[in-house]
Structure formats: structure tokens, C-alpha cells
Subunit: 624 residues, 2 copies
């Protein structure tokens, strides 16, 4: 199999934009926080997910469809897409030069190709004589959604390997979609956006204009009321308003973010500046009003959806791991289009506090939802006869879910992560994420060394002369760029630039003291509370770190943070109470006597629930 | 038709207890807050609900079943029960001597009786050759649930009219249930408790022991894991723990409260003191930790369920109107068993702030959920082709819902409301709710005069010598009982007793000043906020009462409350902000400059959204 080490191996490859991606094939991560997790994805998460998909029959669906006989479909409407995400993850792994189980991948590709219908249609749940008809359920059928993931996987595979089989199948499928849903075809959109991303990327790969045009049609068609009414409201699938008329993301978070990412792709490729501007506005208002401190999005459990402005209750934060993936996808496209640091900063926040939180350290269990406040240790999800969690539970990571979109979605993100660290432009290279490793750009090679996020020091050394821009986080205090003899103070929230000569180094340094953070008072649920952060990492107070007999719900912050023996420590006191009050409302319920203070260590949010069942708070009430 | 004016006309008629109900037939309400609403139910809500049930085919289901030919069932699994609730409401209306449309009622009874199967089974969605089999879906089928409502309606009808036809049908149905689900029958319970209440009341009406025994079996069987797993968790249908082992209500609020009420009935009739004690403990902990200031219960939209302790976000309060009805049912049974004032007080709070909030003033639209914080004026539920709201929207009352349990449930409660005001015992009579009207008790007649809740003055005058106990609310300040020459200070939260001679009056007086209320700090979502109450009524700040251009979300309380021109007024200030902040978290997000204060009037919570679309808060941030 051919391993292509070129810019081709980028998950997203716009034809225009402020900066250009360099692709996983030109990056070698060198351990560190993210290199370790990328290896975890390759060695543990992908095999774990493969095992579950085989056990539950999701792979068997393709084998059965390929055999052309009657069979009972296993799993949910979107089970096909999980298999495609694995193919995508393994493709990026190949692209970055990792060892993958190519025999298994080849078998997967074989059955998927064999399951495709002669007219290009490819979904294992619909359309066969014993099944529901094709396109009979645009609300929940997820046909076009699965197609979209197939197109993404096919593009990943051809970019990483040069093998065109999946890409050819993707073209047959895309041609079928264009015929069925083109300007003169069915006036429908899928209940779950995703096909748009796949079509644009296939257009970028093949140059076939009709795929871009079809994506544009789907984007323009959404919001025109083509999806039947549902109790969640039509904003759930963003069919309430045309994409360009909305001013904020709303409805189901993953749907909203995939749609926005797909719309950004269309805007960039068609030169639709108005649409791009609308999307930038939606991003800004969503980040200002509908995003948790972790970068997590979605505050409704019922419909996995965005709440209204400032509805961000920590104890009902949904923050689906897949919404984190989707947020990175949307921000990345805007970053490529504009080169603005704020998009890279949200990506970083989301990576450290959503994506890194999802898998356990052994890569064998996962958070589906990511709560910011866990009140009880007992809230376990229902487990079915297969040992599968029926829905994401908040109190601990689970090996697998009935809806198991998150594990393979995180796997494909980690596999391709190298591509998100650095971009290039005619003027130079831009460093967005401080991932230690070596990078091969149009301007030559350079490497990054850093123990970030433990240390606030990022060293860059180039092999060729080049202009580099290093992002300085908005929260960075006393940031300086050391370059040659100079130590220049640099502006937070922008890119610090310098010209590097071969062998010379530039070092970005900033303080990484823990900091206390308060919130806009309009976020009702955390009024009077503070959170703690250190660098890009949100910290949390876990019950296992409290003195014995202290209940987390009775704890208030009295001082801190400070660093003690390498840990971030805060002082907390216990509210003492005089027994149960019969009714929690009255003229005298506001204040309580408090006991003595004690120092407690905070844990990194992404590490919580790694030491057994615990309760946890990111936002802690402030004393007084 | 016979109108029976006896103690028989009570919705709940325990064979034992601290106090005894007197029945709707011995009460004549004389206008006032509740008399007006009772008339509204009879004259507007019941006909409105009847019209919708006919339009949507829910009554036609019975006609079709009676015709014994194939038909397509209309509505949800529990549509039958809504028709039964209307029969129950009309029965209590007859019982209280109101004019009802007896021709329509007679037609309803006719088709329901004709739809019953020869073996007693009665459900229009299951068991016919073209339908799903009987008892094939204990999670969602609602068969036993519908039976329970039928038993309640049948008992209401025979108690109010003496007409035994429905009661005989109920006995055939109950006999069928006992055969199918007895100790030797199917080891199953319904996903939604309700049958237990109906069986016990039928036992009370008929004296047939096996109905009580069957109710006992259902109560004991729940919590033993007979319901298949579901993503909501088994607490959703209270199948996680045996009833007597639980220490708090949990899961779906209406299910939990109907179950608790049925279990209280079983405990009382079987003399099961341990079970009764367990239920009293569950009530106390639920009220102390899981109840909104309105008396509303349920803080999850996803599963219409109780949250964990102190999870009571106002902006996601579900507080289903039916949970209010169910809470009254549970508290009423504990009040009858114990005679304790706290149960009557929660009933009062729930009546004024949940039940009274549900219907609009014209009785033609309803709240399904009752939010305590409405952020936007735009959140309308989806409306289907029939003009039906697909789920309860929080921003305005709706004419009808796909799940339209609340309108007929509120109607039956209002129709029977007279029965909840007063009880009797061998020692005398007890006044729990200050409903002006005349009451005919075992000790003779008496009447109540009061403009409550506008005034804190309740006059009682008896026609015969009797001992009366008048409940004094816990929030009542400076309460005195005027009797003859004396004005005796009385204790809040208990019954003030006196002996009344014929013609003499006792007058309970207390201050009704508006009061400012804070909350237990463990309720995260309202930390730093205050609410306002006056008497039993919770007040709210509605955007239509703010100065123009003031956004409710930017308002803080600076002073008050005080009374001004008969209204309750508070001082509020506007937080001024310097434009949009890109990220709502940081070291400086806690404080904001504030503009000048202005007085604004508060509205009674049950009156909100009567003046067009508005935003609304019960809990308002306190300045400083």
C-alpha cells in the first residue's frame, strides 16, 4: 500500500483561504499530551470500537447486505456511519505513518464496497424488499447522514493511500444523491446534516462541480420547512430558518455544528462572502452565549440541544463528545478561511476539556455527555443485555453505548490531529496548537518542543528560513517571545511573528499560574460561583480529594488558587447545617454558619472520574 | 337522574384515618378565587376538552370499538383515559349540583360501556385482531393506567348519581385485572401507576376485598424489576426500588406521585403502618429537596422527571400541571390519614401556583409545563396539522396538546375541589382551605366567608354547636383568632381550635404583606436570587411591567417589596453592559455597573402570560 506524505493528507482541503492545512502526512508528533492520546486512539480506541461493532453486528450488516439475502439489521439507523468513521480513523493513521491492522481495514473496505447497490445507494437499513423503502424517513432515517460519513472516509482513504476504490464508490453514491436530490429532484434534506461536508470534500478531491453544487443546494434548502414537524421544534434539525438568516446556533448541537461546518465549506468554495460572514457571526454569538467554559456545547438532555442564551447549567450540561468534535470541525474551517486566532483558541479549549475528557486513560471507556457538575455517584445509565449503555451516563465512562457515535468520532479526530496544529500561507507558517513534533511545510521543516500544558514554554526551531507566527493564548500573562538576543513582550490573543533562520530558535514563554474565573451573571446556574483554570485546562473539585465526611454540595471556596507540590490547591470550607429544613424557601435560608477551611487539590477536568465513582464540580460557590 | 348529597360524593373515601372527607355533595362554594375557577371548569374547560377529543377522534375510538369492525385508533396509548377524566369531572359537577350536559355524558357512557369486551377488558388500542396484542407493552402501552382512570370515573359517577352501570363495568374490568395479574397471574406492573388508585377506590365503593388485594400486589410488585430496561433508567417508572424501601420520590413525576398516592391508599386500608411511614418520609424529603417554590414538581424535560436533590433550575422547571394534580392527590391522602397541617399547606401552595396557573382565564388554553423562568417570547411548541401543540411549550398556554392529560386532569380536580376544603372527625370539623361557601358536616352546617387570598381574614359561622379547627399557614404573621370577645394569638403551621355556638363566628386574621424569600444555597440555579410571595401566592416579574427597553435578563432587585395602589412593587435596577463580550468567563465577569432603580409591579405567578407574549422570572438576582 502506498503511503503518501503530502499536503493531500489533510482532512479538510479548501481551494482558497487565509491559511492552508499541511496534512497529517507532513507531521510527526513526538509524544506529549496529544501524541500520547493519538497513540491511544490507534492502539486502543480503534481496536476497542472495532470489537464492539463486530460483536453488535454493525459490521455484519454490510456482510449481510453484500450477500444480498434477507437479514435483520442490527443497531440504529446510523450504525453504518460508525464503521465509516473507523475507516476514516485508520486512513489518517496510515497517512501519518502509524502501524494499522491493514488486513482488518481491507476486509472492512471489501464488505462496504460489496454492500453498495448497483445505482450507488449505500445503506444497510433501507430499500431492500424486506426493509423500509429508501428515503421514507427524513427525520430519523439518517441515510444522507451515513452517506456523508462514507464520503469523508473515502476521501480520507484515497488521500492517505492513493487507493481509489472507496473514492470511486463515493462518486457513484454522490452521483446517485445528485440525481435524487438535485435542483429538479426531491426537495428534501436529511434530519441530520453531514452529507454537505462529505460532498464538498469529495468535490475538493475530484474536482467534480456537481458535488459542490449539491452541497450548496442542501445548505440553501435547509430552513425552508421540508422536514415534518416534531415535538422538539424545527430548530432541532435547523429547519426553522435558512442557514444565512440565523444569528446563533440552535437545536441539536451536533446537527447544528456539522451543518455550520458544511455551510462554511460551501461558502469558501463558492466564494459566498455573505454566508461566511453569517457563519462567523453565529460562531461568535454561540461562543459568547451558549458555550460552557470547557468549550462544550449543548445544555439540554432531552434533545441533545443548545439551550437559549446563557442557559448553561453545569449539572445538566450535555456537552456531547461528538459536539466537541463537531465544534473543532466548524472552528477549523473558519480558521482556515480567516486565519484568526480565536478559532484556534476555541479548538484548543475544546480539545483539552471535551475531546481529552471523553476516553478513559486505557481507551476502553468513554463519556458520551460531559457534565460539569456530578451530584451523585449512583447515576449509572441503563445497561442492556449486550452490556451496552443505553444512553450516555454522566457519572462514569462506559465501554459502549447504544448510540456509540462518540468513540469512533474521537478516534478519527485524534488520528488526524496532527493536521490541526499548523498551517501555512505564502507568507509563512502559523502555529495554532503546541504539539511537539516535526512539521514539513512549503517553507521547509521545523520542529516544536514543549511540555505544554504543564509548562508555558514552546520552542520552535526551523531547518530553513521562514516566517513563523505562534498563537499567544488570550489568558497568557506576561507572554514573551525569545528570539536570538531579544525577549519581546507579545500580545495575547494574536499570533506573535518572527523570522527564523535555519537552526535558530524562537521560544514563546508565558506564566501558567492557576487562575480563578468568574462568569457572566446572566448564566443563572453559576451565579456566585467560581471556576479554576490553568493554561488551557479547566480544573475541577472531585469528592475523592475532600476531607473525609465532607459532602461536595456543602463546600464553598474561601481562598486560592495556589500551587503546592505541583498541584493546584484551593481553600474550601464546609457549610454546617442544623439538620433537614422542611421547606427550602424562606426569609432565613440565605446564610449558613461555616466551619473551618481546609486546602484541597483540584484535578484536571479531563482526568475526573479516573479514580472510581466520585462527585465533581467545575463551578464552586464562593464563600460570603 | 338522582343527585346524591352525601358524604358518598367524595373522590377519596378511606375506611379509616385521622379525619374524614365530607364529599362534594355537602359543599356549595360561593364564588371567590376557587368558586370562579370551578365554574370555569364546568362551563369552559370541560366543553373545550370534549370538543377537542371529538375532533381528534379520541371519543370516536370508543364508538369504533363498540361497532366491532376494524378501525384506525386515533391519538396516543392513553387517549381513553382523557375521556374517563371528563366523565369523572362531569360526575363531580353533578355531585356538587352544577348544571352539566347530561345528554353528552349519557352518550359518552353509552359508547364506553359498548366498547367493553365480554371478558371485561376495556382499551381501544389493543387486543383486536388488527391491533397489537393485549399486554404486549408494559412500558408504554398504558393499558392498566387507562383502566385505573376508568375505575376512578366509574366510582365518581356512582357516588354522584347512584347510577351503577359504570361501576358494574368497572367491576368486570377489575375482576379481569385480578384474574390476569393476581398472585398467580402475570408478574407485571404498568409503566405508569394509576390502576392502584382505581382499585382501592373501587374496593372502598364495593367492599370487594380482592380489589384492595390486587392494588396491594401491584404496589409490592413495583420495584422488583419487572419492567424492561430503558434509557431513562428504571427509576423513571419507579421500578428501581420497592415502594417501601425508597426515601424520596424519583423518576417521572406524575408516575411517582400517582404511585405514592395509590400506595398511601393501600397502606391506610390494609393498616400497613410501616408503608405509611415510608410514604410520609418520602413526602417530607421530596418537599424539602425536590419541590419548586410554586409546589411544582419535576425538573427534567427529557423524562418529565424529578431531578436529584436541590436540582431545581427555574428555567428548566417542568412542573407538569398533572404533577400538580398528582401532588394534591398524594398530600390529600396523607392529610386524611394524619390530619397534619403541612399536607394541607402544600395542597394550597400547589393549587394557587400550579393548578391555577394551568388554564387561561377563558378556560380555552393551558400550560402543560409550568416554567418559573421564561427567557424568550419566541419558544412556541410545534403545532401539527390538527392545530395541536406537539408538546407543552413554556412561553404561552396552548389550546390542546398531543399529550393532553392536563386539561381534563385539572377539570376533574376543580370539579371535585369542594371536597378538599374541609374534613370532619368525631371531635369536630377541620378547615384546610379557605373556600367561601357552605358546608354540611356530621356536626351540622357552617359557612366560610373570605376574600382570601386578597385579604387575610377568614370568617366561620356555624348553625350548630361544633368544634372547629382552622389551619393557620406557616407564613402567617401576627395571626389571631377572634372568637366572641377574645382575640387569641394562634400558632402558625397548625390548626387553631375553638368551639362555635350556633350563630357565633370565629374569625382568623393574619397579615398578608408581600414577603421576600430566599432559598437554600444548595439550589445552585437560584443562588443570589430572591423571590416574592404574598400569602399563598408566588409573585413574578413579567417583562410587560418593565420600563421600555429594559431586558428582564439584565434586571436586579435593589429594594422592596412594598404595597403601592394595591399592587406589590419592588425596586429594580438595570445592569448596564458595554456591548457583547466575546467569552463569558474571566477574572472580570462578576460585576457590572448598574443604572438607576425603578419601581416595578409584580404579577401573581398564576396570572402570567395573560397579557400576550412576555418573558418572566420568579427568582430575580439580588443587586450587590
Amino acid at each position: 500500500m502506498i503511503h503518501l506524505s503530502s499536503a493531500r493528507t489533510s482532512p479538510v482541503r479548501p481551494r482558497t483561504g487565509a491559511v492552508r492545512p499541511i496534512g497529517v502526512g507532513r507531521v510527526r508528533l513526538d509524544g506529549g499530551f496529544w501524541g500520547t492520546r493519538q497513540e491511544l486512539a490507534t492502539r486502543a480506541i480503534v481496536p476497542h470500537a472495532m470489537e464492539w461493532m463486530r460483536r453488535l453486528g454493525w459490521i455484519q450488516n454490510f456482510e449481510s447486505a453484500a450477500a444480498r439475502g434477507p437479514y435483520e439489521h442490527r443497531g440504529r439507523e446510523f450504525a453504518d456511519s460508525e464503521v465509516y468513521k473507523l475507516i476514516e480513523a485508520m486512513s489518517w493513521d496510515i497517512g501519518r505513518g502509524a502501524e494499522v491492522d491493514e488486513e482488518t481495514l481491507e476486509r472492512l473496505i471489501g464488505v462496504v464496497l460489496a454492500a453498495q447497490e448497483p445505482d450507488g445507494y449505500l445503506h444497510t437499513l433501507f430499500g431492500r424488499p424486506w426493509q423500509r423503502p429508501r428515503y421514507s424517513d427524513f427525520q430519523w432515517g439518517h441515510e444522507l447522514y451515513c452517506f456523508g460519513h462514507f464520503l469523508q472516509a473515502a476521501v480520507a482513504h484515497v488521500r492517505a493511500t492513493g487507493d481509489t476504490r472507496l473514492c470511486e464508490a463515493a462518486r457513484r453514491l454522490a452521483d446517485h444523491v445528485c440525481t435524487m436530490f438535485g435542483a429538479d429532484g426531491l426537495n428534501r434534506v436529511c434530519g441530520h446534516a453531514e452529507i454537505e461536508l462529505g460532498l464538498v470534500e469529495l468535490y475538493r478531491e475530484t474536482g467534480v462541480d456537481r458535488y459542490l453544487e449539491q452541497a450548496r443546494i442542501f445548505i440553501e434548502r435547509r430552513g425552508t420547512g421540508t422536514i415534518p414537524l416534531h415535538e422538539f421544534g424545527q430548530a432541532f434539525w435547523q429547519d426553522d430558518l435558512p442557514v444565512r438568516d440565523a444569528d446563533v446556533l440552535r437545536g441539536h448541537a451536533v446537527r447544528a455544528l456539522y451543518l455550520a461546518a458544511g455551510a462554511a465549506d460551501v461558502a469558501v468554495e463558492t466564494g459566498d462572502a455573505e454566508l461566511l460572514e453569517a457563519l462567523r457571526g453565529q460562531w461568535a454569538r454561540t461562543v459568547a452565549r451558549r458555550t460552557y467554559i470547557t468549550g462544550g456545547m449543548g445544555s439540554h438532555h432531552m434533545d441533545e440541544a443548545f439551550g437559549e442564551d446563557f442557559v448553561l447549567p453545569p449539572d445538566r450540561s450535555y456537552c456531547e463528545s461528538c459536539a466537541g468534535v463537531a465544534s473543532v470541525m466548524f472552528s477549523w474551517r473558519l480558521l482556515l478561511a480567516t486565519g484568526e486566532a480565536k478559532y484556534a483558541e476555541l479548538i484548543e479549549r475544546t480539545l483539552f476539556n471535551v475531546i481529552a475528557t471523553c476516553p478513559s486513560r486505557d481507551g476502553r471507556s468513554f463519556f458520551y455527555a460531559n457534565t460539569l457538575h456530578q451530584r451523585g455517584t449512583h447515576t449509572q445509565p441503563a445497561i442492556d443485555d449486550d452490556g451496552v449503555a443505553i444512553r450516555g451516563g454522566a457519572s462514569g465512562r462506559q465501554p459502549w453505548f447504544e448510540v456509540s457515535c462518540c468513540p469512533p468520532n474521537v478516534a478519527r479526530t485524534l488520528a488526524g490531529l496532527g493536521a490541526y496544529a499548523v498551517t501555512e500561507s505564502d507568507a509563512g507558517v502559523q502555529i495554532h496548537q503546541y504539539l511537539p513534533g516535526s512539521y514539513d511545510t512549503a517553507h521547509g521543516r521545523f520542529r516544536i518542543e514543549s511540555a505544554y500544558p504543564d509548562e508555558g514554554r514552546i520552542l520552535v526551531q526551523a531547518e530553513a528560513p521562514m516566517t513563523i507566527g505562534i498563537r499567544v493564548p488570550t489568558w497568557a500573562e506576561a507572554a514573551v517571545l525569545r528570539h536570538g538576543e531579544c525577549a519581546t513582550p507579545v500580545v495575547a490573543g494574536a499570533y506573535a511573528e518572527c523570522i527564523l533562520e535555519p537552526g535558530a530558535t524562537a521560544i514563546l514563554e508565558f506564566a501558567l499560574e492557576p487562575r480563578r474565573t468568574s462568569a457572566d451573571e446572566r448564566i443563572d446556574a453559576i451565579r456566585g460561583c467560581v471556576a479554576f483554570e490553568r493554561g488551557p485546562e479547566v480544573l475541577a473539585l472531585e469528592s475523592v480529594d475532600l476531607p473525609e465526611q465532607w459532602a461536595l454540595e456543602d463546600v464553598v471556596v474561601t481562598g486560592g488558587p495556589r500551587v503546592q507540590d505541583g498541584d493546584t490547591v484551593v481553600d474550601v470550607a464546609l457549610r454546617s447545617r442544623g439538620g433537614e429544613v422542611a421547606w427550602p424557601y424562606g426569609s432565613d435560608r440565605g446564610g449558613r454558619e461555616r466551619g473551618g477551611s481546609a486546602p484541597v487539590r483540584l484535578t484536571r477536568y479531563h482526568d475526573w472520574a479516573e479514580r472510581g465513582p466520585s462527585t465533581m464540580r467545575v463551578w464552586i460557590p464562593l464563600a460570603g
